[in-house]
Amino acid sequence: MTKLKSLDDLRRLREELQKEVEARQGGETQIIVGMGTCGIAAGAREVMTAILEELARRNIKATVLQTGCIGMCEKEPLVDVVRPGEKRITYGHVTPRDVPRIIGEHVVNGRIVEDLVVGRAN
């Protein structure tokens, strides 16, 4: 393999993140993105990268997961947010532009972004 050109940068990042890993207490919010064929065709990859960039930019600790097709293909891209001890909220037709609002309002402040909700589950 070609050596990572920015290996020093990666090592610096590791040192920075190592402290955060040690300080992490668990019980993080989960963000789940539908990544079936329907989700991918509808733009789930762009939503996923927007979520990663927003979490990195705001230094928010959350667990990002993926799931396959759940049968709501017409509402893809789908993003679930599960805050510890709270209902699972499913957002539909999510675009990268919606991501800062979902992260800022729901993940950080616990306020559900009602106009994007397509499902709720315990």
């Binding site: 590791r14 064929t37 991918i40 979490l55």
Partner: protein, 187 residues
């Protein structure tokens, strides 16, 4: 699918659903031969020969909830429209290899698209996956291997958003360089 990179993401999701722990993605761009070859090889559960024969049929799937499986048939359609085809070899218990060929300069070939976004999306969902990505443009090759990255990261998970954002930028720079600094796609 608008990009070949989205087909790649879709196929790797199949590999993960089949329990693969290692996936090798190879892209070869051969200007002299006017050929683009994408190969995805996994060590997942594989398929028996009878299933392989039917797998490009959109109504063939292992899923029990709905009897459609569009991913491979969409890829085959894209390849055939661009003067190529799809070949699948698989062995039960050993894994599957999917090879798609395209006319590199064919008018109807979808662009390769955002491969770095596809790779980090895979890693976001499968941080323990041994992913090897090899991209050859004529006589130049770039290789990316997550085993090496994880070794450097130690206890820091590869799916930390800051790590993935870093890797996406790194891959974008590497692929731009591979293409002579002129962009990721030559289509």
């Amino acid at each position: 699918m608008e990009e070949l990179a989205l087909h790649i993401l879709d196929l790797v999701q199949n590999s993960l659903a089949a329990g693969a722990t290692e996936v090798v993605i190879e892209i070869k761009e051969d200007a002299a031969g006017d050929l683009l070859i994408i190969t995805i090889k996994d060590n997942g559960s594989g398929m028996d020969q009878e299933f392989v024969r039917r797998v490009l049929d959109p109504f063939t799937t292992t899923r029990t909830t709905r009897r459609v499986g569009l991913g491979l048939s969409l890829l085959a359609m894209a390849a055939r429209q661009a003067g190529g085809d799809v070949q699948i070899s698989s062995e039960k218990g050993k894994g599957t290899t999917v090879t798609a060929t395209f006319g590199l300069r064919h008018w109807d070939r979808p662009p390769l698209g955002d491969v770095p976004a596809t790779l980090v999306t895979v890693l976001a969902g499968a941080p323990k996956l041994d992913l090897i990505y090899r991209h050859t443009v004529d006589d130049r090759t770039f290789t990316f291997c997550t085993r090496e990255v994880r070794r450097e990261l130690g206890e820091v998970p590869i799916n930390d958003p800051k790590v993935l954002t870093f890797l996406k930028r790194y891959l974008q720079e590497a692929l731009t360089s591979l293409h002579g600094g002129g962009g990721v796609d030559e289509a």
